[in-house]
Symmetry: C3
């Protein structure tokens, strides 16, 4: 079924120093001049599919119905497939490398997926290294202009799409260990754990907790976290609160962030610097005696 | 009185690496799809209210009539108030922490101010840590769509709004000492002093001057500036000119910048690096014998 | 002949931390509210005319018909001229310092050029240091709204416009030496050489090559490249391929990039870091025995 879209969102690792984003936006402006583009981010670390997927998934609920163009594509020019995924009121376009599915899940799940196989929807000449401009942007524009996703190429089985391994969360009585999903501009450390995980561990608002940063994630449920050389000794302590200013300036607070994840913050400071942690590492929370 | 706005401007410390700005813009696109957003900046240093206020105040005269959304909000989730301020042909929305008033002054002064107290204009669920998305962006969109500011909450006395202390300027015969207001991308050092201060000090185009960077601002009028360890010795010298190329490459020039402030520049170089100064520090100008 | 433009593109070295871009966009919004602005980049290194010219020239083919505003203007406030250049379906606006001509060439060459001499198309007050806001943005907006370029000032002889020296390329049997034109966000090293230069040197897909980074460009055709202290010893080797993943992760590949230039890349890494090179330096490619 074809829909016309007023809005397009764009998520890439192209940066804004070069003209890569402008070339994609220019292609869209030529083919779908009615559409308006909302930039999600263009500064995903080069090739960091997980990060791109996370930022888009956290934003998409607040965006209007749109064609969501996402390109973090280290396999460009290889046999990796290009995709259009219909999910909820939107369509997602990008490479088949796990980038799109978390956002599709947030939109209510994949209702159809198509391989980009029909060159009529691409630029006449396709480079080996810039499918964002030559394939994904024109497909995005054609979809915004009302093209039927089914015309883009063969339908794909959802189970066959590349999916990133889920980030690890290990909940236990009075504690949890979870992968760091993102670190934001303020240095807030967002864990893969969610509100319900904190509740399952029996940790409540106002509780004091210890924070133990660990090594890169090789967690299996129940594994102990091996402290890394940069760990504070003794472990850092924090309080479970609602917002940054629930603790004094410079103190650690554990809170549920605006995406519904458990996050560690320092009021007027950087928790990532304090804990010497980063995306992909593990952090362990343990309830201190109340 | 309600007005419909075609334009919205946005000034935040959210950065563009995360999806925070996109979430705000998405909320606006859903509620006021007719409105177009002009980004002022999103890279205010985290929590730096003075910097956000200065950038917005310097830009606002050149922007069209708009709802100006500004969020630098270290007190998010506490009892600090949210505001809508009517000023000139525009309305400003953001926290009551001093961020909005310099721009309101540039627009001709506050004609009305309202506390954001009516949840009907917010998102249905309000997080503790992201009022930009959940409160300020939807209020901005409703205003752009024609909502009456008076409907947002109780009217406030302008004298009761939080106002940043004015940056210090101390003019004396043949010299002045002023706080560094901003350092721009080119390393130009903008002082809080204005054209009239230079004139009051009797410093004129073509005059040679000494430049003495000082410590962080604890100035009271007439205080001497204590040289900081990084100071050049003897003091740097400059000439008062009109533009960068009035001096040779690498030389210092004092000029009136495009915002009407006294600024120190190095032609094809960085004055901030040369003087080892930064926003909030003091710089003293002294007239050399003509 | 006057045309109305729906689109404006913007290329500057203003950065996005300050409000400089917002002021220009605001001026455009007031004078040509119908026009939409596509950002090419605002993070050209301060005063780097070559870099600004290159990014715009590589993007312009993919942009819609537009007024292309470009400001990298170290001579602002001096006697350097402002220009409007008609080329193909577009008009370019900016300083006469070489910034605009490479893009004009991409658009099919200059069909007319005018000096910006008529203050009726500028802001009422023109600062000495911010002609982007006070001259170039309002001229851009007036052109988008349908002003005749010939009304902006006297026609200029194309041969008299400032043109950057062409980047050096020296092709020889089984090798070439070329200036590094750009390094992109991924660390890909784009040479001034093009596909045809590779063919002229007799270097073909699948060939192994040596890579020798050299000093800053002082090349005359036939000059040997002096190895710089940071050079790998023995020289780095690469293979000529189509895309990044044609070599294993961490290996060097030479390819034709999306702008048609010869480029050196590291799969999942930075070739600029590997070769310790930068824009303006030379790199020499030599065919290894097949």
């Amino acid at each position: 079924v074809a829909t016309r879209y007023e809005w397009i969102s764009a998520t890439t690792d192209y940066g804004t120093d070069d003209g890569f984003v402008a070339a994609c936006v220019g292609v869209i402006a030529r083919l779908a001049p009615h559409a308006r583009v909302i930039d999600v981010t263009h500064t995903v670390p080069p090739g960091d599919i997980r990060r791109g997927a996370t930022v888009l998934a956290h934003s998409v609920h607040y965006l209007p119905a749109a064609v969501h163009l996402a390109v973090v594509d280290p396999g460009v020019g290889t046999s990796r497939r290009g995709l259009a995924i219909v999910a909820g009121d939107s369509t997602l376009v990008g490479p088949d490398n796990g980038l799109l599915l978390p956002a599709a899940d947030e939109l209510g799940g994949v209702s159809a997926a198509y391989e980009l196989a029909e060159p009529a929807y691409w630029l006449p000449t396709v480079s080996h290294t810039f499918h964002g401009r030559d394939v994904f942007a024109p497909v995005t524009a054609h979809l915004a202009a009302g093209a039927d996703p089914a015309a883009l190429g063969p339908a794909l089985d959802v189970a066959g799409l590349v999916r990133l391994p889920p980030p690890r969360v290990d909940v236990r009585p009075a504690g949890l260990t979870a992968e760091v999903l993102t670190v934001d501009r303020f240095g807030n450390v967002q864990l893969a754990a969610r509100t319900s995980d904190l509740a399952s561990a029996g940790i409540r608002l106002g509780d004091p907790v210890t924070l133990t940063p660990g090594d890169a994630v090789t967690l299996t449920p129940g594994d102990p976290v091996t402290p890394s050389p940069g760990d504070p000794d003794p472990p850092a302590t924090a309080v479970v609160g609602n917002t940054f200013a629930d603790v004094e300036a410079g103190a650690l607070v554990v809170l549920v962030d605006s995406a519904g994840h458990v996050a560690i913050a320092v009021n007027a400071g950087s928790a990532a610097a304090r804990l010497a942690t980063r995306p992909g590492a593990a952090v362990s929370l343990g309830l201190l005696r109340r």
